[in-house]
Amino acid sequence: MDLKHTPKAGTYDGSIQGLSQEEWLIQIMDLYQDKVIRLAYTYVKDRKLAEDLAQEVFVKCFVHKESFRSESSVKTWVYAITVNLCKDYLRSGWKKYIHVIDRLGKSKQSPSLTPELTIVQKSEHEALADEVLRLPLKYREVILLYYYKELSVLEISHVLNKKEPSIRTLLQRGREMLRRKMEKGR
């Protein structure tokens, strides 16, 4: 079942097609739980954090279900909440603190293994995934939403609240950046 074809939020009155609010949330989780947690992971790059953020996303979906507008599908609405929550987390002071601690820890753990050597040791596919996840956030999110989440440019513009031409430009630049990095890595 795709919620894209269910009645839109403008008609919400506490239940959808006879579903209680809780059943509605369970349905949302059935459809998007892994997609949300993986999308969150692409932002925070930490499994535990991604799990926490995904839980928070579903709670927010439940709390703000009245704010869902019929202009977009449920999928883009859920993704938009995920992206905003992840960005809020990345902007928070606590995250910056943890990030600095994390970097210090990692630099002590494997000082001899350079990023270049790591890429050589991995397969080409893994190297591609690594490079995608290393892209700057504004390119990374567009590349991942387009290729990984397979959203259209229009849908991405709804999720990120940006105009379509901007999304196309970011997509193009992200691709070029990635191509240069892959060529450099060979």
Binding site: Q21, Q33, V59, H125, L128, Y147, E150
Partner: protein
């Protein structure tokens, strides 16, 4: 050549994303959270209500008390100005005026004398006997004013120039009339029907006389 990025879903889902899944325990946590959100708030204990209401009353009373204190501490501008103005003007003491009047009646045969102060103006009405010369009237008036001035300020008589420090603050008008004149009538219309008007300048304290009628 095929775009390698098109393989990204497969690469990520089978690679590093393989083990990143939303477990049942996470789902239960979400459901627990939303049930807590929907749960009506637990009824508060009687102690909570008592404490809350007492605190509200205490804060309210404290606020009113502070407000009243604050309001009282600010005098009204007009009242303050009047108070400052009044403080600058020394008042001729009524007891002193009475004593001076008594002296004038007993020792100088002055039948009628009255004095009163309003603001910074001391008005004196003196009714001399008919046989008293003009110079005697002046001397007696000065004597009366000196007595009033000296006793008012409670300063040594020698320290006062002319009629004393009191006249630096108070204007004085001395009206003299003949003996057969009605003093009450003179008080009521004192700008006319009297013989002499004496005034004292604040700056020099000198008594000056001018003949008004006749």
């Amino acid at each position: 050549m095929e775009d390698p990025l098109k393989q990204l879903p497969e690469i990520l889902n089978k690679g590093r994303m393989k083990n990143i899944t939303f477990h049942d325990e996470h789902r239960q946590k979400v459901l627990k959270k939303i049930r807590q959100l929907n749960r009506p708030p637990a009824p508060k204990s009687w102690f909570y209500h008592w404490f809350h209401q007492s605190l509200s009353v205490a804060i309210g009373v404290a606020f009113i008390f502070i407000f009243i204190q604050f309001a009282q501490s600010i005098p009204e501008p007009l009242e303050q100005k009047e108070a400052e103005h009044a403080a600058k003007i020394p008042y001729a003491n009524q007891a002193i005026l009475t004593k001076a009047r008594h002296d004038m009646r007993n020792y100088h045969n002055v039948s009628g004398i009255d004095a009163y102060q309003k603001g910074d103006l001391l008005t004196v009405h003196i009714m001399f006997p008919d046989n008293l010369s003009y110079q005697d009237q002046v001397n007696l008036s000065e004597s009366y004013l000196k007595e009033v001035s000296r006793l008012t300020l409670n300063e040594p008589y020698e320290a006062q120039n002319y009629l004393g420090e009191l006249w630096n603050y108070v204007n004085v008008k001395v009206y003299t009339v003949s003996a057969n004149y009605d003093l009450l009538a003179a008080k009521l219309q004192y700008e006319s029907n009297f013989d002499w008007l004496g005034t004292i300048e604040k700056e020099d304290g000198k008594l000056r006389w001018e003949q008004i009628s006749k």
